[in-house]
């Protein structure tokens, strides 16, 4: 009984070991199949003939480009954050010679005058108040 149990345990160990050995291979195979599939889908749409021709080098090139883009994006975000900080700082500074109370004391703005129309043209005569009774 003990032998049988020992044998079963051994078989189980061997199965687990086989499974551990088999998993990296299966994953690699799946990634490879998926990558080739993805490249096969991307290549005709991007027109990148070299990508389709050489999946492995294209993949690494794409990864490099993504990495460079990510770096650029990160740099831009940093710059934007810095500029937003500067704008906030300037906006919070008081304008020299003014204060909220001084602004409140200013007289109200005059009403906006009506738009000035184009002047009438020079005329030859005028018709108006009748001034004749024969």
């Amino acid at each position: 009984m003990t032998d049988l149990r020992c044998e079963a345990l051994e078989r189980a160990k061997r199965r687990r070991a086989r499974r551990r050995r088999a998993t990296p291979f299966a994953v690699s195979a799946a990634v490879a199949i998926g990558g080739v599939g993805a490249l096969a889908w991307v290549a005709p749409r991007t027109g990148a003939a070299d990508v389709a021709a050489s999946p492995a080098s294209a993949s690494s090139k794409l990864a490099a480009q993504l990495s460079a883009a990510a770096t650029t994006l990160h740099r831009l975000e940093s710059t934007l954050a810095a500029q937003q900080g500067q704008i906030a700082a300037i906006a919070s500074e008081p304008i020299p010679g003014t204060s909220s109370s001084a602004m409140a004391a200013l007289p109200p703005l005059p009403a906006i005058p009506a738009p000035i129309s184009v002047a009438p043209p020079a005329v030859h005569a005028t018709t108006g108040a009748s001034s004749a009774v024969p």
């Binding site: 005028t126 018709t127 004749a132 009774v133």
Partner: protein, 319 residues
């Protein structure tokens, strides 16, 4: 009081007649300038001729002699005879809205002489001018062969048409040899042909509230314009404000709600008659009364309204 002068390629003439300043502007065309000057002088004299024949302020004028006994036949000078015949024609044309028999009403209102309107604040407190019933139909009789007229039971006033007729007849004198000219008399104009430079004549419509800027500018060619306005001829009777544009149906100043009416027509007398008739329609009815005429009116609220026909002639003004 009558003058002419040569200005470049134009002749300009002035005369004081019919209680107004008359101006003529004549483009040279093919005529010699000195010959044109003589022609302008003749045209200017037309105004004096009409004034002498048709004035109601001279009891010896042909019109007033006929008015003194209106039921009798009177042989009249050609100008007075034609003016009365045109007045009768205008009466029929406007269905009686233009009626020269309002003379009695004007006298009741105190307008029996040249009044100092320009001075403003004119009060005639010894008058009452009560409302009266509408006048019966006007049926004057004319005998063209003898130039005789029977006015009917009531005297007449040619103030509402005389100036327009003078502008018409003066233009007819000029037209024979100077087709491009302007005749302007106290607001009644005739614009013949082209203005100097070849474009249309430009005529400003005065602001009846007294503002310096015109309310509109009209482009006219072979057209007349006239305005009936109460800006100048208004006064007070017994504390009541009145003016000279009398409604023949009531004998009272008419044109409720209106300040001025301008009409453009092919003929100056027609324009003058319609300006008065449309004014008397009042603000409530002028739109319907104007029909398809070229008319512009300004009401008591200072609103300018133009008919579709007038809108085509406005080159500056109400937008």
């Amino acid at each position: 009081m009558l003058s002419t002068e040569i200005r470049g390629t134009e002749v300009v003439g002035h005369v004081r007649a019919m209680a107004t300043d008359v101006t003529m502007q004549v483009c040279r065309g093919d005529e010699a300038l000195d010959a044109l000057e003589d022609l302008v002088a003749v045209a200017l004299r037309v105004f004096r001729t009409v004034e002498q024949a048709c004035t109601r302020f001279d009891p010896q004028s042909p019109l007033m002699r006929a008015n003194a006994r209106p039921t009798e036949a009177h042989r009249l000078p050609h100008v007075c005879f034609e003016a009365l015949r045109e007045a009768a024609r205008a009466y029929r044309l406007t269905d009686g809205r233009f009626d020269p028999r309002v003379l009695g009403d004007l006298l009741e209102l105190g307008y029996d002489r040249s009044l100092p309107f320009a001075d403003g604040d004119l009060h005639l407190d010894d008058r009452s001018a009560p409302r009266r019933p509408p006048l019966p139909e006007w049926t004057p009789q004319f005998r063209a062969e003898t130039k005789e007229v029977v006015l009917g039971p009531l005297p007449v006033d040619l103030g509402g048409i005389g100036k327009g007729l003078a502008v018409r007849w003066a233009s007819e004198v000029l037209r024979l040899r100077a087709p491009d000219h302007l005749v302007e008399g106290g607001g009644d104009c005739y614009c013949s042909g082209r203005a100097p430079g070849g474009g249309p004549w430009l005529v400003a419509v005065e602001d009846p509230f007294g503002g310096q800027s015109p309310r509109a500018v009209l482009e006219l060619r072979d057209q007349a314009c006239a305005t009936s306005s109460i800006r100048l001829r208004n006064w007070c009777v017994g504390g009541r404000p009145v003016h000279h544009l009398v409604d023949p149906d009531s004998g009272q100043p008419g044109g409720a709600g209106l300040r001025a009416v301008t009409v453009v027509a092919p003929d100056p007398a027609t324009a003058e008659v319609w300006a008065k008739a449309l004014f008397l329609a009042g603000a409530a009815d002028i739109q319907a009364a104007a029909g398809d005429q070229a008319a512009l009116w300004i009401d008591d609220t200072d609103t300018v309204t133009v008919t579709a026909a007038m809108a085509r002639l406005v080159c500056w003004g109400p937008q």
